[in-house]
Symmetry: C2
Subunit: 365 residues, 2 copies
């Protein structure tokens, strides 16, 4: 009769064990904790598995062990460049690990997030990555009751559910405005779209900075719930100009908007930065190569994803980090669009030096 096989002809653990001359449970251990086997059996099982081309049945494993190797990831948007960078960090960090990622899109809705969370938690994930700190109370309760590690990403705040990694959007916005003040600007406009919680906190930072300087004016703020785009940046800036005159600079809640503002300036023949200074947010790649180059607040998106994944893996394996909250910070990258004393050739050349960057395979842009 030879080896029994399942209908589909699939190789089971039992076949591997038989070929290796060990019990199924020993073969099973080989895949979970090879060190527990004697070297002799280890090699026997290994070569048997190799020979038969054995691939474990994850469903059976999950059922028997009462846990999965699924990491749930909840993000609000698949389009936003910001999230694709974070995702890349997450996927890269999990590569080679046994964990598989289950990605879901909340579409910026905390109700949708709650629904997805319920779905995820029912499958007992090994870990969870959620975006932001603004969950519904119901979601919050579920997260706190969950018996798996959880990382909140994108921003930091009080009362982490478990672990948290991000930076202060409020402080980042304040730093951007401080830079504009340092360059002598006073009438700073704010252009924002989508207005999700993080953009809202950037706005809060802007408002606080302006109020502290005694320069706050509601009419300098233009926002919309519409999803962001370059085109929208131009349109919102046009609204701002129509409403208020004498603006000397604009802080944009993201880089797409900043690029749109730049184009709108060009269209109206407004000199940047001489007449209007522009500062964006996130420091996407194109900011360094536009004309003029655009100042932005650099955020560590890829690192946020990979660090979140790394923390999660550590925590799953029982090695919780000392410090559950990790602030990745930000950097104001000062470029031509906001520099009143426009630098000569030097800086321009420096900014142009790394023309061919991002060439690493692991970083996969």
């Amino acid at each position: 009769m030879g080896r029994k096989r399942t209908k589909s002809g699939k190789i089971r653990l039992a076949e591997v064990a038989e070929l290796a001359g060990v019990s199924p449970i020993t073969a099973s251990r080989f895949f979970r904790n090879p060190e527990a086997l004697s070297v002799a059996k280890r090699t026997r099982v290994e070569s048997a598995a190799q020979e038969l081309g054995y691939v474990p049945n994850l469903a059976a494993r999950a059922l028997a062990s009462q846990r999965t190797e699924v990491i749930g990831v909840l993000i609000p948007s698949l389009t936003n460049n910001v999230f694709s960078d974070v995702l890349r960090g997450i996927y890269d960090a999990f590569e080679g690990s046994p964990y598989s990622i289950q990605l879901s899109n909340t579409r910026y809705s905390i109700l949708q997030e709650e629904k997805l969370l319920r779905l995820f938690l029912a499958q007992k994930p090994a870990g969870l990555i959620v975006t932001g700190i603004d969950q519904t109370t119901e979601s919050r309760a579920m997260l706190e009751a969950a018996d798996c590690p959880i990382v909140q990403i994108m921003e930091i705040g009080p009362n982490p559910v478990d672990m948290m990694i991000g930076f202060s959007h409020y402080d980042a916005a304040r730093a951007a405005i401080a830079h504009l003040f340092a360059q002598g600007h006073r009438k700073v406009g704010f252009v924002g779209a989508r207005m999700d919680p993080r953009v809202q906190r950037r706005l809060d930072g802007y408002v606080a900075a302006m109020k502290d300087a005694g320069l706050f004016d509601q009419r300098l703020i233009v926002t919309t719930a519409t999803p962001t785009s370059v085109t929208l940046g131009g349109a919102l800036f046009a609204d701002l100009l129509a409403r208020e005159s004498g603006i000397d600079s604009v802080f944009c809640a993201n880089d797409d908007l900043a690029l749109g503002v730049l184009f709108e300036c060009r269209r109206r023949e407004i000199a940047v930065p001489e007449q209007i200074a522009i500062v964006g947010f996130n420091d996407l790649e194109f900011m360094a190569s536009s004309v003029p180059t655009l100042t932005s607040v650099r955020t560590n998106r890829y690192e946020m994803g990979s660090a979140a994944a790394a923390m999660l893996i550590e925590a799953i394996e029982g090695k919780r980090p000392q410090e559950p909250v990790l602030d990745l910070g930000f950097t104001v990258i000062e470029r031509q669009s906001s520099q009143t004393q426009r630098p000569a050739a030097g800086p321009r050349a420096a900014e142009w030096a790394p023309v061919i960057q991002n060439d690493s395979v692991t970083n996969d842009p």
Copy 2:
């Protein structure tokens, strides 16, 4: 004793069945094929499940039924805007369905793709979406032996494994060049990065068009294996200018490169389109709002994803499409950057009309 429960306190199907006063198997059927139950039992099971907050255990289901509701998706990059649009289409189309998406990144490596494919197929997915038509022979064999529907996306070609949805990159490039010819351009440069199979086919289309017109010159082509970026577009264009003079137009293999070329022109004070015409590829959002607006080849990326998902669902449910190959086509969107007779106010206004677009939630940008 009341209802027995599993250690973790989870509600099992047996509990639901007990509360509903039916056998477990009847309760099971309710979730898979409600029509098979009498109306009375159906409502009883439904309210029992509701009351207990029952959520099925997917691992047990997969193990017992020997199939999963997992859709494997293999894409070469998480960063590229092109794929994020496709992914959005896929995720949106699967939303509300029982299927869950398992996404993996091949990093433009067909060997990596083969490895991932092996992994996926071992878990008997319900369906598979793979990128492109250039698989290893081993991958090809696995795909053909797979007993689930498969959709190849991003391009079309001969011999689909199963279903196929995309467009001809070769034809699209030829159309772009034809447009430049029609505008009176002759010395058309080509700028390409990453040079994956689809970019290669765009190059092939360019080469064929140039040869047909008797204008082909190897020195007009600049490519690199480096991943694409705006900065890189400028750098490659600079290379092209340094090597060859008299170029009157540039066809860029994607929009990022085109934007980089535009900035480089601005930096060098080259008038666009008067001195150099620019055509990009994909028609990303910013192409319509740059100054000047940039001509591009529009591709239906979101539709590609959603149509692939729709085809897959149909096929899984036994309704295979008549025509397994779907050509989504492309459109050359002519804008200022390639129009020799620059239009007056009219067209510009038209291009500016939909400043606030993409506002739908389902389209989630």
